[in-house]
């Protein structure tokens, strides 16, 4: 059971974002820009960063949700699975390997990212903005993962929930649904 009183039909992050809409607004805006805004990284690549960090933080809700979003965007399920298992052998570009490594280090601590890791990413073709956004996406998911687990939010009863959620994240994005989430009540 969650540590605070949340709407029972909204598992994971959604119940928290509805509980505190005032803080949810900038968090949603930040996520929408970082994961869906104009970028030289694809939406799939950005979802993979979110997936790797959430997986490292062992946040089941976020890992499952962003894996599902990455799978839907990519049209296959192998890549997200492989980056969670081992970044260096995953079927992604050298640049993405370097950026995912920076994300995984950021998850541990900002101080774990060294000039050498940055140099590797630059040699592989990463731009300053891509490095910036990778670090900030990784940092943002350190917020999300702690928010979701720190307040003991519930997991969905039915795993199909994640498919509906992934569809929303891909086809609508991270902004609040205009009419809220009452339609999710049974």
């Amino acid at each position: 059971m969650p540590h605070i009183s949340l709407e029972s039909h909204l598992p994971g992050i959604t119940g928290l974002l509805e509980y505190s809409k005032e803080t949810a607004q900038p968090i949603r805006e930040l996520t929408q820009f970082l994961l869906r805004g104009p970028s030289s990284l694809t939406e799939t690549e950005r979802e993979l960063i979110a997936t790797v960090v959430s997986h490292g933080n062992e946040c089941v809700f976020c890992t499952t949700a962003h894996t599902a979003a990455a799978d839907l965007l990519a049209g296959e399920t192998q890549t997200a699975q492989k980056v969670k298992e081992n970044i260096s052998t995953a079927p992604v570009s050298e640049k993405m390997k370097a950026l995912l490594t920076i994300a995984a280090l950021t998850r541990q601590s900002g101080k774990s990212v060294t000039a050498e890791h940055i140099e590797e990413a630059k040699v592989a073709g990463a731009t300053d903005v891509e490095i910036h956004d990778t670090v900030l996406i990784a940092s943002l998911f350190c917020l999300y993962n702690r928010y979701v687990d720190g307040l003991g939010t519930a997991l969905p009863e039915n795993p199909a929930y994640y498919l509906t959620l992934a569809d929303r994240l891909v086809n609508h994005g991270y902004t609040r649904l205009p009419n809220g989430y009452d339609h999710l009540k049974k």
Binding site: N57, L105, A115, L136
Partner: protein
């Protein structure tokens, strides 16, 4: 020197915000709402103290000094007293409720799953409300983001701690939406 070319000399998160205004706007809006909104039963000083403590645990020099100076400004205590709280908040002159919330914040810093039912129960015994517990967890989680952003990109920070103390009154007046 920062890991990327920021095209400015501003310290810590300020340089990053100048570099990427699209993400600075929501980041500042979140800080403003979490740390300064008046519709909150935790004082601004108490909320800054949570941010300071988490930044200290994450060993982020810039953030713990900016927010430590702000906490000191609001709570009318000097930097030595703030340092004492960081070193051992249980021995400090703080309310039992505040101590129970700082304990929750410390667990969040380690990982969301580290927050125990017992810690929540203790906070409730001290009359912490749902919103106070929520805000404590979210402030702690937000500083786990801010600290990683600042250090992950290797930003620079003034080493003289007086720099931060001198700036705190102006920041307290301006808030996080006015940057100068």
């Amino acid at each position: 020197m920062a890991h990327i070319n920021l095209n400015n000399d501003l310290p810590g998160i300020r340089g990053l915000m100048e570099y990427r205004p699209e993400t600075a706007t929501p980041l500042n809006a979140l800080a403003e709402m979490l740390l300064r909104d008046d519709d909150n039963t935790l004082s601004r000083g108490e909320r800054e103290l949570i941010g300071t403590y988490v930044s200290y645990l994450n060993d982020c020099f810039f953030c713990q000094n900016v927010h430590g100076a702000l906490a000191g400004h609001y709570l009318n205590c000097d930097i030595n007293q703030i340092d004492n709280i960081k070193n051992d908040f249980n021995a400090a002159d703080l309310s039992s409720k505040m101590k129970s919330l700082l304990a929750i914040a410390a667990s969040v810093q380690k990982g969301g799953k580290m927050v125990s039912e017992e810690q929540i129960a203790t906070a409730r015994l001290e009359n912490a409300t749902d919103k106070e517990i929520h805000d404590t967890v979210l402030i702690a989680a937000a500083f786990c983001m801010f600290n990683r952003y600042v250090d992950g990109l290797g930003t620079t920070a003034p080493l003289d701690r007086q720099f931060y103390i001198n700036r705190a009154p102006q920041r307290a007046e301006d808030g996080y939406l006015i940057l100068r």
